[in-house]
């Protein structure tokens, strides 16, 4: 029998019912990879890293870390976990991630022109499959050049970079001059900033060309493979004096335009592997303040059987580490010299800013970071795609400046299909890799070596090399000694 005074349960539990009875935290997205025998490197959503033992990693995931432990505090401050006291982490992570992806909205910045495929050097590793300097039919015409410049100014990028590749671009200086003058005129008209670089062996550098570079703010980049004997062995010309010509050119640019206006890169051959210190010393001797250590790319003559180019990735990494150690040693003694690829990787590891380097983008940087105009008007989404075409495989050719429109080329299936398959956030192996935020996709290289643009990463030389580089650099940063200070200075 009802009394009319039934006890009614309140609609909500009291606040105290929800108060935490035990400490709780939630994980934020992160990846991890083994750094060495005992340590792991963890990278969060925006690329911040944390190095720790496996026990801490397991403790983090299994929720056994206590809030008073130093690991907990570090992981919380670096946004690997979230608790009731740092809800703002989500906002920060989203902002950092957006900043890192910003280059995507800039679209194509780098535009490469090949004024000629002719060259006076006959490097056995020539990846561009150069033609002899007297050959005919390998020079860019004015009509192609004009359309190339117009194509470049269609890019939405606020800053453009115009780079001359070869062959030896100065062998067709007339068309190079025409392209630069047209570019400078259009950049004034459009209010666009254009940085211009000529990649040259400097054999044909003259006072006229130096005047031209000074007047039009053109920088120069060259190849210097090391001391005289090594350089001339790698890069012979008819008179066996390519070293003398290149060094003379570097000196003239330094004295006339300043040391910041010339840079150089080392192509590593088998002959280079046991000379890391001698190669570095040569750069110091020439007064250069930067160098770029690169392995041989598997294109053009470099892919011919029997050329002395082959070495393993492990051998190249060993060479790189020795050279880098020596460069750091010289820096500590007051010598100013920076290894540029190291500096680029450090920027990717330590800063929230994206880099436009074509090989380290996700999706791949082909087309959306760089475009190349070949001497015959062929348009390619990277220099390597052009190199592949010179070997007879035109799979990545986007079209021709003389016959195809900007829209048709930049929205072609050739480009868009490749891009959609190269997001490392979704590629097997890359998706779980602790170095994913720093790395990228190189579809042309994987296609060349494995016949597939995604590639099988456990057998990928690109993957092995970059894993080795990231492990080494993070290992150096973790030492937190004077060499770490040198690396940090290279960020500027």
């Amino acid at each position: 029998m009802s009394t009319g005074h039934q006890h009614r349960r309140p609609p909500f539990e009291p606040r105290s019912a929800f108060s935490p009875v035990a400490f709780h935290y939630s994980l934020l997205p992160f990846r991890f990879t083994k750094l060495d025998e005992s340590r792991y490197v963890l990278t969060n959503f925006s690329g911040d890293y944390f190095v720790t033992e496996r026990a801490v990693l397991v403790g983090l995931v299994k929720k056994t870390l206590t809030p008073d432990s130093s690991a907990y505090v570090e992981l919380k401050s670096r946004h690997f976990l979230i608790d009731s006291h740092n809800a703002v982490a989500l906002q920060l992570l989203a902002t950092q991630y957006r900043t890192k992806q910003q280059p995507l909205s800039e679209f194509t910045g780098l535009h490469m022109f090949v004024p000629t495929l002719r060259c006076d050097n006959s490097c056995f590793y020539c990846q561009a499959s150069r033609k002899p300097s007297t050959a005919e039919g390998f020079d860019m015409t004015e009509s192609v050049a004009d359309r190339g410049v117009d194509f470049m100014f269609r890019s939405p990028s606020t800053v453009l970079k115009l780079e001359f590749q070869g062959g030896e671009p100065l062998l067709n200086f007339g068309i190079l001059r025409h392209i630069v003058e047209r570019t400078r005129a259009l950049s004034l008209l459009n209010g666009r900033l254009v940085n211009i670089v000529i990649c040259s062996n400097l054999s044909f550098l003259s006072d006229e060309i130096l005047d031209f570079c000074e007047n039009h703010e053109v920088n120069l980049s060259t190849s210097l493979d090391g001391p005289r004997k090594l350089h001339n062995l790698n890069r012979p010309n008819v008179d066996f004096d390519s070293y003398e010509r290149t060094c003379a050119g570097i000196t003239r640019i330094r004295e006339r335009l300043g040391v910041q206006r010339v840079s150089a890169l080392v192509t590593t051959t088998r002959y280079s592997l046991n000379q890391p210190n001698e190669i570095v010393d040569e750069y110091v001797k020439q007064g250069l303040v930067s160098m770029f250590l690169r392995p041989i790319n598997p294109y053009g003559f470099a892919s011919r059987v029997g050329t002395p180019t082959s070495y393993s990735t492990v051998e190249w990494l060993d060479f790189y580490k020795k050279a880098l150690d020596y460069i750091i040693h010289l820096n500590l003694k007051g010598v100013r010299l920076r290894e540029e690829y190291t500096a680029l990787l450090l920027r990717r590891i330590l800063t929230p800013f994206g880099t436009g380097f074509v090989d380290l983008q996700s999706p791949a940087g082909i087309g959306i970071s760089a475009v190349l105009f070949n001497h015959d008007g062929g348009v390619y989404p990277s220099d390597e795609a052009r190199m592949l075409a010179e070997m007879g495989d035109r799979r990545f050719c986007l079209g021709n400046l003389l016959t195809d429109s900007y829209e048709n080329m930049m929205l072609s299936d050739v480009l868009l299909d490749s891009l959609s398959e190269t997001m490392t956030e979704t590629v097997p192996n890359c998706v779980d890799c602790g170095f994913q935020p720093y790395c990228g996709a190189d579809p042309i290289r994987h296609y060349r070596l494995q016949g597939d643009i995604v590639g099988y990463k456990p057998k990928s030389e690109f993957c092995q090399r970059h894993m080795g580089l990231f492990r080494h650099l993070i290992g150096l940063l973790e030492r937190q000694d004077e060499s770490t200070e040198v690396l940090m200075r290279w960020l500027n």
């Binding site: 991890f32 989203a94 679209f107 779980d432």
Partner: protein, 126 residues
């Protein structure tokens, strides 16, 4: 190791307790070790067996097989992380790209031509 044995053709067979390990974690580890082993995965009632047949690239099969087992543990841990954070990851991505200008809203009309949709590209002069 009781759960690891060698067959007559030199392959190593590793048994994983299915109550401890996820099949997906074993498959991911197998993908990663495909350069060192030809791998066959079999599903039994209580365990999952992975047969690892060394390739020519495999210098020390026993060591590599041990590392394969550790990789399965790591992959299992990654599955835990993914299960807990996939929702937050989607939220972060949505939030990050909600404030970009990757897509030009002026071109978001019903009759826009896809060929013109990339920011900054314009129709060439007639």
């Amino acid at each position: 190791m009781e759960n690891m044995c060698r067959t007559a053709d030199g392959s190593l067979v590793v048994k994983f307790d299915r109550h401890v390990y996820r099949l997906s974690a074993i498959k991911k580890a197998a993908y990663k070790y495909g350069g060192l082993f030809h791998i066959l995965i079999e599903n039994a009632d209580d365990f999952i067996a992975a047969t690892l047949k060394p390739t020519a690239a495999c210098q020390a099969a026993d060591v590599a097989a041990g590392e394969f087992c550790n990789e399965v543990l790591d992959q299992d841990l990654r599955e835990d992380i993914a299960a807990e954070t996939s929702g937050i990851r989607d939220l972060l991505l949505a939030h990050a790209f909600s404030k970009t200008s990757l897509i030009d809203l002026d071109l978001e009309t019903e009759d826009y031509e896809p060929a013109l949709k990339i920011r900054g590209t314009a129709k060439p002069a007639e």
